[in-house]
Subunit: 464 residues, 2 copies
Amino acid sequence: MTENNNLTIKELIKVDKELLENVSILIENQDSQSILNLLADLHPADVAEILNHLNLEDATFIFNLLDNETASEVVVHLDDNFRSDILGELNSEKISDIVDELDSDDAVDIMGDLPEEVAEEVLSKIDKEDSEEFKELMKYPEDSAGGIMSSDFVYVHKDSTIKDAIREVRKNAEEFEHIYQVYVIDDAGRLLGFVQLKLLLIKPLKTKVNTIMSEDLIFVSPTADQEEVARIMEKYDLVSLPVVDENRIMLGRITIDDIVDVINEEATEDIQKIAGLSEEQEPNYSVFRISRIRLPWLAMALVLEFFNAILLSSYENIIEQFYIATFFIPIVMAMGGSSGTQAAIVMVRSLSSGEIWFKHSLSRLIKEFGVALLNGLACSVVLLLGVTVFFPGNKVTFEFGIFLSAALLTVMVTATMLGATIPLIFKKFKTDPAIATGPFVTTANDILGLIIYFSLITIYLAGR
Amino acid sequence: MTENNNLTIKELIKVDKELLENVSILIENQDSQSILNLLADLHPADVAEILNHLNLEDATFIFNLLDNETASEVVVHLDDNFRSDILGELNSEKISDIVDELDSDDAVDIMGDLPEEVAEEVLSKIDKEDSEEFKELMKYPEDSAGGIMSSDFVYVHKDSTIKDAIREVRKNAEEFEHIYQVYVIDDAGRLLGFVQLKLLLIKPLKTKVNTIMSEDLIFVSPTADQEEVARIMEKYDLVSLPVVDENRIMLGRITIDDIVDVINEEATEDIQKIAGLSEEQEPNYSVFRISRIRLPWLAMALVLEFFNAILLSSYENIIEQFYIATFFIPIVMAMGGSSGTQAAIVMVRSLSSGEIWFKHSLSRLIKEFGVALLNGLACSVVLLLGVTVFFPGNKVTFEFGIFLSAALLTVMVTATMLGATIPLIFKKFKTDPAIATGPFVTTANDILGLIIYFSLITIYLAGR
């Protein structure tokens, strides 16, 4: 092997940086041959990374230069939205040539993103057996077990020997990228167990597979949510998970490398919701597109916070006669917001990791109440001290300090309970609980916090 | 196989719910035999889940009932912090029996969590060869490639045949849980390539491994950060990644199931930082422990927001003569906070996925500026309209509306740029950029926002 093949982390990153600039120059000069030479030494994932950093026109130009096999290896590594854009620039002929080279789960993924008429054209152009298989797989929602499973799995009948199993592996070794297990089925095609690949190497050839197969079967139905699938594969440390129908007939299998993508996707989605982003922002997006991703939540926050302006104006008399109250608006808002967000995020994570069952949600809420009370008290005491030290004299009386601290405590407890409860309610009504972590709850807490604060101020002023 | 073995998702979740209650009753009655019978049918990961939901005393009680093999299978699935707590209750004899049964990476993980003197006692009690190996592995930081790698890998010399490779697999098949590849080394022990397990099944026994090995080697050094390792394995769709020293001598290998844990850990950490949590909150934590996790950031936010109270009091004269200005404090704070958080979170995600290189950070910041300008303008126009409609007449003049909108635009642009820049600065100074997504930047933006707002109000009032 030559030294050039020795990729290390450092070199990998360097290659990307330099290449992106070199590629841009070569594209400007329309120097196709040099581009191909330059890309030839790269891993398809690196080629995809370069494309992901180019604009649509340049990326499509390069993509069209690639032969079908390379294109199929590159296409699976492209960013999802950008992949649809690039494929939108190709004719159905080229797409079907690429799809022909793909594993069934990747092929279905890509066709799912195509406009319906293009997908049909593509299907009509590929091998009939493949297209039947793809049509079957395309029935399942994209984020279900059926949507991410591959129908490329090796199986044998329960009466087969190790020798038969090895023959099956040999038959499919080239076409199926990942073979970790050989599945064992009965006469009716029902899944009975599996044999780890390493066992095929160490047991005598005449051994019956059903004497060495593992029967600790964990499987899912094709309608299971991909997040559920990820949780099961993580929990049980599986590299491969069979998908079966209601009669336990095996339909496909999901491999861990696809689940890595799911886990990332889900984590990214959760974080997007916290940030109030309507979709993932990718490096080649224009200013306008990024603006569109962020604006919906900003606009919603603006409208909700406008209520706060109206709310405050309704307390006009209080503010006019006791403007000192306004000094502490930021504290009340920020502390309510922070404690509410903490509770919401922790609750959403617990729900999505399956830690909380509804039976236990009440005891969990009681715990949240205890936490809110403790932290609220701690912050109230600090605030009272702070007010006494920094706002001495007759401007902020000790009596007002007590009211202020009480308001902070009330706001923090209310906000925490709101933050912890809303995800549970969303879950109950089959809405994604993660929405509760976003600006929606924060602004709701702002409004609630100010109402509580000014109500207490009203009481204070009335009693003065 | 009996029907009882057919785990499906639904049944799995049901089992957990019922079991937890049954187990609690059995613990109360100290009915050890029934507990063991009940746990015998469960997957070790499910036993661990039950323990994770119990308090320390009950969990330790059950853990002590398990035989060493089961205990070793359960211990790897326990929540990290809780595992340390449970092991803290055991003597070094029992711990070394458990460690003896573990894969080297898991063993090292667990020993890393033990107090130093306990870890040494454990090491002195296990097999000498193993303890040397563990000591070697324990040198690496827990979150480095060396810290997560396992030394359980199969390798052969480059002049070996397939037959030799199969013999090596056979020798280690029982001890090594995951075997996906056989690594090929030269006379000096340097890594040359690898052979996929399926190839051992389909090629003639006399074939030399160096004629069929894959030379597209991707490897990392033991000091590489685990996040870097995860990124590489994801990007190149690897199930197994070799770790080599500076002479390319193979030290160990990292498997994808460990990386799944890393990805989850990192996503959880990112989200924790956004929420301002000092560590992950686990289901069995007490109210006091949860309070301790959340309080540091709340206290910090309180102190920072207290500056805002002092700041507002310094604008006392303005507020007194023009209290209408205070109506819009919530809008200014919330919009600055939201746009700053959006920018910070997007930047942190881009940095951690390796999308942004420093060379490109300037063009990225220019883009952020464009986005902030667009969204700021959109929100300003809406605010101006809202103020005109809802605050008509002489109370809020159109002129003040213009100043208010200008303040909103300035605050949103400043907050966005602050949110986008701080992660880059943190990264530059080798601090975790994700800290920038937490309450720290939000409160910094609150302060900055109010300063900008009241500065513009001052100008407005001066010109009136």
